[in-house]
């Protein structure tokens, strides 16, 4: 079995190299390798995952280790139900994305590098979910950041694609420093970098919480960066210039999902560190509401979906922060299915319309019947309409959070209640923005010039993945309701709550009626147009970090130039070099420059530290 896991980790990388090697010579070969590799990965992932669902004993294996460092580095894997469900999710979405991309990127000369990066992305996510060594996990974790950077800047001739890619990479990498330091601290504290060893040790000494708060908070910070939670929430919407299938991959199954996975994986550590859980809870409460507000007013279909991802991820963090582990993980899976569906359907819309702006859409339901039907199901799941998967998982999250607020001792009660309140409020907003996006895209009058466009449904390679994703989105509720069968026998929580379900359904119905009434009376201008402000946090980052760093960089160059010139003037020949050196040391101007630089560097460090924590 362990060789199967290793094969699973190697295949995507081999497939990537082969796609790059052959894709530029023969288009068909590149496509065949990319899709074949992704299907093989899915097959391997299934073979690894299925035996480890439910009550099966987890698989652990160490392939190699380096005893030369203390503690040792180990190439170790752990396959338990949590890994298994995420392997299935990542493998499925990645394979569907590769198939979909055959149609979406038809004729794109950059297809080989694109497909290779998708393969590497998949391999990195698989590495993260089966890693049992924190360094192995970190490799996959950061590799995903790099892949997303390259894929977001796929259309590098667009200025916003370049900017979005850089922003995504720098923001997540800054937050990743938290994970790096957390790994170093945990390794020192527990004498091992093995995840299973550390978690056992944490569980064995649940009362000694003194030393764990710092690594747990640091992990939380890096997770907030990876999953685009406040105050790192701004990179994900700016990553939208990337190709739409990539958004599906990043939002549903890999990069941002990895953040939730990491909290779920290291859950005993978080339970021992209330500070980290409180941080996650407050962040989640703020993020879900804020992101839903953005989604409510933006006019760009992809951005609506991006903000909804930010908001839904916050639900998962909220559930985890209040102790509802199964509900959080189930919402991750459920969201993976319907968000992949939504993004791929949105890609189909854009494929037809040639724009992401909802101002250019409207009345598309007759022109794009398959896209309309599948996207309707996706939006229904996002809004939490019975009986789609999002209804069950979101209700489980809210019910679990409510239980946590009433009975739990993980965080202070007021934090828990703020979070529960935010969840209910955000659920209402979710219905409103989903319905608005659905109406603006598919209903109302067709836009002018629509006749000139040759509006047509996407090719089969793009439609088949949509219908395939409809299956889990529609009947996934059965999985959500049976956590013990999937996540293991210890997860026997009651996932369905009649009271909450009735309440939430009533909220959905009332909100829908209000929005529909507004649509009747006002048409496309459902509520006053709000020009979406650039998130103020971005301006803060710019003023506090970007500009000072640029200024310091210019200062450093000026300092070096002065030093060099001062030296060069005095050094016509080698004999006078010493004199130049001495003059340099006595040059007060230079010294003051350098002093400023040193002090400035320290100040940047302090500011950065304050901002990131």
């Amino acid at each position: 079995m362990s060789w199967l896991v290793l094969t699973l980790l190697v295949v995507p990388f081999v497939s990537a190299v082969a796609t790059l090697g052959f894709g530029h010579r023969a288009e068909g070969a590149g496509r065949g390798i990319a899709v074949g590799g992704s299907l093989l990965t899915l097959g391997l992932a299934t073979a690894v995952a299925v035996p480890h669902l439910g009550a099966a004993a987890p698989l652990t294996h160490v392939y190699a280790e380096t005893a030369a460092t203390l503690p040792p580095f180990q190439l170790a894997v752990l396959v338990d139900p949590l890994s298994a469900v995420l392997l299935l999710l990542a493998g499925t979405v990645a394979a569907l994305v590769q198939v979909y991309s055959l149609g979406y990127l038809r004729g794109d000369s950059r297809y080989p590098s694109y497909a290779a990066l998708v393969s590497i992305f998949t391999g990195a996510m698989c590495t993260v979910v089966v890693a049992d060594d924190l360094w192995v996990l970190l490799v996959g974790w950061e590799l995903m950041g790099a892949c997303s950077y390259f894929l977001i800047s796929h259309h590098w001739e667009l200025a916003e694609a370049r900017a979005g890619a850089v922003k995504a990479f720098l923001m997540t990498r800054t937050a990743d420093l938290g994970l790096l330091f957390a790994i170093l601290l945990l390794g020192e504290r527990f004498g091992s970098y093995r995840i299973s060893t550390i978690l056992e040790a944490v569980a064995g000494q649940a009362l000694q919480r003194d030393e764990l708060w710092l690594p747990a908070v640091l992990v939380a910070v890096s997770v907030m960066g990876k999953s685009a939670q406040f105050p790192f929430h701004t990179w994900l919407p700016d990553a939208m210039p990337g190709p739409t299938p990539i958004s599906a991959l990043i939002h549903a199954a890999t990069m941002v999902a990895a953040g939730v996975f990491l909290v779920a994986r290291l859950y005993p550590l978080f339970v021992s560190a209330p500070a980290a859980l409180t941080l996650l809870a407050l962040t989640a409460a703020a993020t879900m509401f804020l992101a839903a507000l953005y989604a409510l007013v933006t006019d760009d279909l992809k951005r609506v979906l991006a903000w909804s991802t930010v908001s839904q991820l916050a639900y998962m963090f909220g559930a985890l922060a209040l102790g509802a582990w199964s509900a959080g993980v189930m919402h991750l899976l459920s969201h993976g299915a319907f968000k992949a569906l939504l993004f791929l359907a949105a890609g189909s819309v854009m494929h037809a319309v040639g724009s992401t702006s909802m101002d250019r859409m409207g009345g598309l339901r007759t022109k794009l019947p398959d896209t309309f039907a599948t996207m309707t199901i996706g939006f229904a799941a996002l809004a939490g309409v019975v009986p789609f998967v999002g209804f069950f998982s979101k209700d489980a999250v809210i019910a679990g959070a409510y239980e946590g607020a009433v009975h739990g001792r993980l965080v202070w009660p007021w934090v828990a209640w703020v979070l529960v309140g935010s969840m209910v409020l955000t659920a209402v907003l979710t219905v409103a923005y989903s319905l608005r996006a659905w109406l603006l895209t598919f209903f109302g009058p067709e836009q002018e010039h629509a006749d000139e466009l040759d509006l047509h449904e996407a090719p089969p390679s793009m439609r088949v993945p949509l219908w395939l994703l409809v299956v889990p989105t529609t009947i996934g509720g059965f999985v959500v309701l049976n956590p013990a069968a999937v996540l293991g026998p210890e997860h026997v929580e009651q996932m369905f709550h009649v009271g909450e379900s009735i309440l939430m359904t009533a909220l959905v119905a009332v909100t829908s009626l209000v929005v529909l009434a507004l649509w009747r009376s006002r048409g496309r201008e459902l509520w006053p147009r709000v020009v979406v402000p650039h998130p103020p946090v971005d301006r803060l980052y710019d003023a506090a970090l970007v500009r000072p760093v640029r200024w310091l960089a210019r200062l450093v160059v000026a300092a070096d130039r002065d030093v060099v010139d001062g030296y060069a003037d005095g050094a016509g020949g080698t004999a006078r070099g010493v004199g130049g050196l001495l003059r340099l040391a006595q040059n007060g101007n230079v010294q003051s420059y350098l002093m400023v630089v040193v002090v400035g560097a320290a100040a940047v460090a302090v500011v950065a530290g304050a901002v990131t924590t």
């Binding site: 370049r162 760093v549 960089a553 070099g577 010493v578």
Partner: protein, 507 residues
């Protein structure tokens, strides 16, 4: 002479013999001489593999140890262990690549055979420095490596622009003056050490020297100052950007990948044994200067407008990580220092090759003019992106482990060192990683992705994407970056064993 003595002496002698051979053949045919040099580079590489196969990770200084300058008790004392062997192998690989590159990519001004011969002479000095176990012998080999480099920069360097020739000579001379001054300080330090210990033998010094008192401190400070010029450490780095950017491509590669490592190796082999970690200020000051260099180098990179200068300044930051690791006085620190040194060798070597390829094609490395290279030379662009990711320390590629170990060592330094100070160093160094990401992404954004401004990019002087010969020359470096990225144990194990044996287990 037994086998290991033959191999050790041959390691130094082989490049010298090749120099003579190349110059003799050059009288008949320059092209043939360059091919001989390239083949010779491979022979030396093979020889170093042979040496590696014969050697143990623990230092054995008994094979070659004979009097050399008997009057001042300097001995011809060579040996190799797990600290020097990785650097030695990295050097022979890089030299083989540069000599191979010369076969198809001769400099415009001619004299390729002489350039190849000088590179081989530098190689002899470099390999001797990594093998020397006598303080003065190390100094002597170091000088052998330096002087030919002056000619390489001065004769084959970049003479573009107004006053190009003068600037080139100034860069060459500045390099020589600084490094020779550094050597002088180091030599004075060595002499002071001898007055304390009665020997130049680093094996005996490492085993028995107990540095106490102001004289010992002075000696350690002088050696540190000398090595700080060579490594270089901020603020003594100012010779580096000019030398690295004015040198011809092969010269830049050798300067960055190999010559800087003589400084960092010097810190590990010839400085740590001279240091008492209990001294109040020496290690914290060296660590602090290294950390300032990390941030300073990264900031300087952010504002560079020349491709080669940017890569040159990135070296200042990388060397800061190496010296920070050494200054923690831990085994993990030495591991990090060696790892970061080797990784920097292959990564920055590759980057300078790529920068040279860009300059060959477009006649300029000016980042304000270059743009859209992803579209024009996609494979070259992809390689630069790969090199940038390796250099900014992406986990899974070579650059990560060394810098991570440096941060780790600073987080948990030797017990007698001030913990809070070093934790601060670790945090600032980690921020340097973010700045490194920022400047490499800025580079890719402005020159390789399309730019917003600027009318038309410079026309291609040499058309075409990466040639087969270039793939051949660069692929060992690419492979090394991947292998060192996924299998850190390859290097960490021998370094740890050697460090315990050389410095003693308690450190």
């Amino acid at each position: 002479m037994n086998l290991s003595a033959l191999v050790l002496n041959g390691m130094v002698a082989a490049p010298v013999v090749l120099v003579v051979l190349v110059l003799l053949v050059a009288r008949l045919s320059e092209a043939a001489a360059v091919r001989v040099a390239a083949f010779g580079g491979l022979v030396v590489l093979g020889w170093s593999v042979w040496l590696a196969a014969l050697s143990q990770t623990r230092l054995d200084g008994t094979a070659v140890d004979v009097p050399w300058l008997a009057a001042i008790d300097v001995r011809w004392h060579l040996g190799v262990d797990g600290i020097s062997l990785p650097l030695l192998l990295m050097s022979t690989v890089v030299f083989a690549c540069t000599l191979l590159a010369l076969v198809r990519n001769a400099p415009d001004c001619g004299g390729t055979a002489w350039l190849a011969a000088l590179l081989l002479l530098i190689e002899a000095g470099v390999l001797g420095s990594f093998l020397a176990l006598d303080l003065v012998l190390f100094f002597a080999f170091f000088e052998v490596a330096l002087i030919p480099m002056w000619f390489v920069i001065d004769q084959w360097g970049d003479a573009h622009g107004p006053r190009g020739l003068q600037q080139r000579r100034r860069a060459a001379t500045r390099f020589l003056v600084f490094t020779v001054l550094g050597s002088a300080l180091m030599l004075v330090g060595f002499v002071v050490v001898r007055s304390e210990t009665g020997t130049f033998d680093i094996v005996r010094i490492a085993a028995s020297y107990d540095p106490v008192g102001p004289v010992a401190l002075t000696a350690a400070a002088l050696v540190a100052l000398g090595l700080a010029v060579k490594t270089p450490l901020w603020p003594l780095h100012i010779w580096l950007p000019d030398a690295h950017s004015k040198a011809p491509t092969v010269g830049s590669v050798v300067l960055a990948a190999v010559l800087l490592k003589l400084g960092t190796y010097g810190f590990l082999r010839f400085w740590l044994p001279l240091v008492d970690p209990g001294w109040d200020w020496l290690l914290p000051v060296v660590g602090g200067v290294a950390v300032v260099g990390i941030v300073y180098g990264a900031l300087a990179c952010l504002a560079q407008t020349d491709l080669k200068r940017l890569i040159a300044y990135s070296s200042v930051g990388h060397m800061g990580f190496v010296v920070l690791a050494a200054a923690t006085y831990t085994i993990g620190g030495v591991q990090g220092a060696v790892y970061a040194s080797v990784a920097h060798g292959v990564v920055t070597g590759l980057l300078f090759f790529l920068a040279g390829a860009v300059k060959d094609r477009y006649g300029t490395g000016d980042l304000r003019e270059l743009r859209g290279l992803y579209g024009r030379v996609p494979r070259l662009g992809g390689l630069v992106a790969f090199g940038a990711m390796a250099s900014l320390g992406l986990p899974g590629l070579a650059g990560f482990w060394g810098e991570m170990l440096a941060v780790r060592a600073a987080l948990f330094p030797a017990g007698v060192l001030p913990r809070v100070t070093f934790v601060g160093f670790a945090v600032v160094a980690a921020l340097g990683v973010i700045l490194a990401s920022a400047y490499f992404l800025a580079l890719l954004r402005s020159a390789f992705q399309a730019g917003e401004t600027g009318a038309s990019p410079p026309p291609a002087v040499v058309a075409g994407d990466v040639s087969r010969w270039e793939w051949l020359v660069w692929s060992p470096l690419v492979a090394a970056i991947v292998v060192l990225g996924v299998a850190p144990g390859l290097l960490l194990t021998p370094v740890a064993e050697a460090t315990v044996a050389f410095l003693g287990g308690g450190r």
